[in-house]
């Protein structure tokens, strides 16, 4: 049972996707596991033949429990780690979410009405498409007699997960915060021209430029691309940016884009689009939930101009982008309307200081002034 979260202790095997005798390649999905953070597809990290399945579907087992044995290419049989990462994976960016990631099980109109009425949407049974909670469901709940108040509101598994991870982060990580506002005139002008000359299916969103700039800037600031351990910070060789994706029903997931800094923008866009689709429909993989080395979050779609994040342990930094807005901006001695974005870095003071962190943000800004090099 791989560890898929900073505070994960156990997981429930939902289903096997393979049977004894099946041949599997590295990266193949062999099982589905339910954690408090959702149903995750489990990959193998070695090629071979499934020898035995050691855990029955429905069984809940502690992290580290062998799930299966795989006979690899070598004569000796490899016990268990076939379905677990060979080394402890840095845990996870998923903070909240449903038992199965989905775009949402509540219509936006129903969610707004429930908010106005103070009704807890997850407690409602949905009668809409795919079991979605509809406006009528909310109105019916509002008309029903209120249940007797309990001593404390029951926390869903996902709220417990977010509470545990963020509580731990704020208890253990001495955060500090820096922000700067960056002109995107050059970057967006370049992107507009690039998008105009390609097919609609190949268009790149501005957010992808921001993610790539962060990834490239990290090359010169390895202390921010690290994992905190008992022995101190461990710089990580690959830059795998976790991108925060909202699930619409209150959840949030931040799967990793492996080697973000090496991906050309069109490839990065394709990966991002694929991750968003799978995050909202289910189907994220265990490696994607365990390999982020830093997180980038953007709440710009919600209209806010600044996002000051909470670091996901054991990562040591999170970068937040606000909404791209047009503001008066002095350029060449003149005030001109300019699209700008505010970027905020929350960093772990155990691993870096304000001077270096400020230089990191300057590096992000400089990279965004040369979008053709991203």
């Amino acid at each position: 049972m791989p560890i898929l979260g900073a505070d994960m202790e156990a997981g429930t095997l939902v289903a096997w996707r393979v049977a004894p005798g099946d041949r599997v390649e590295r990266g193949a999905i062999v099982a589905e596991v339910e954690t408090e953070k959702g149903i995750i597809e489990i990959e193998v990290f070695t090629a071979g033949t499934i020898e035995r399945l050691l855990v029955e579907p429905g069984a809940k087992v502690p992290v580290g429990t062998p799930l299966a044995t795989i006979r690899d290419e070598q004569p000796a049989m490899r016990e268990a780690p076939g379905v677990a990462p060979p080394s402890p994976a840095p845990p996870i960016p998923r903070l909240d979410g449903a038992t199965a990631p989905s775009r949402g099980r509540v219509s936006p109109a129903a969610r707004r009405r429930a908010h106005d009425l103070g009704i807890d949407v997850p407690a409602l049974a949905g009668t809409g498409p795919s079991g979605a909670v509809t406006l009528d469901d909310v109105e019916r709940a509002a008309a029903a007699p209120a249940p007797a108040p309990s001593e404390a509101a029951a926390m869903s598994p996902m709220r417990r997960a977010i509470a545990a991870a963020m509580g731990r982060s704020k208890r253990e990580i001495p955060h500090f915060y820096l922000d700067t506002t960056i002109s995107l005139r050059t970057a967006l002008g370049w992107l507009e021209r690039a998008n105009a000359s390609c097919s609609v299916t190949d268009r790149v969103l501005p957010g992808v430029l921001l993610v790539k700039a962060v990834a490239l800037a990290l090359r010169a600031f390895p202390e921010l691309n690290a994992r905190w351990s008992d022995r101190g910070p461990l710089p990580l060789p690959a830059i795998n940016v976790g991108v925060a994706i909202s699930l619409r029903d209150g959840g949030l997931v931040a799967p990793a884009i492996q080697e973000t800094d090496r991906l050309p923008l069109p490839d990065l866009m394709r990966r991002f689009r694929d991750l968003v689709a799978r995050a909202r429909s289910g189907g994220l993989r265990s490696s994607e939930l365990s390999e982020s080395t830093i997180t980038v979050t953007s709440l710009g779609e919600q209209g806010v101009e600044r996002v000051t994040g909470v670091i996901f342990p054991p990562q040591v930094a999170i970068v937040g982008f606000g909404r791209i807005v047009e503001r008066p901006w002095v350029a060449g001695g003149a005030v001109v309307p300019t699209p700008v974005v505010t970027v905020t870095l929350a960093a772990d003071h155990r691993v870096t200081d304000g001077h270096r962190a400020a230089r990191f943000l300057v590096a992000v800004e400089q990279l965004l002034q040369k979008p053709e090099d991203l």
Partner: protein, 83 residues
């Protein structure tokens, strides 16, 4: 293809992008982004799906014209009409 056909197509596409939405309750003049909680990735997927279903190219500068259901139908009606 009639305006009603286009409206049906738009609603079908929106239904795939926001399956939880109560599309019948979305007024023709409401902001789709707001009413359906669409982000930029959803909107791009919407444009791509319209492109694939109707074979129309929708440049980014025209996105504001697709802000509402009525706007979508008007825009697609013009784009699909023989010149």
């Amino acid at each position: 293809m009639t305006r009603d056909d286009l409206r049906t197509t738009v609603l079908e596409v929106l239904g795939t992008i926001a399956p939880e939405a109560e599309l019948a309750r979305v007024p023709d003049d409401a902001s789709l982004r707001e009413a359906l909680d669409l982000d930029s990735m959803d909107f791009l997927n919407f444009v791509i799906a319209l492109h694939e279903r109707l074979h129309v190219d929708i440049p980014e500068r025209d996105y504001p014209k697709l802000a509402t259901l009525a706007g979508c139908v008007d825009y697609l009606w013009r784009a699909c009409s023989p010149r």
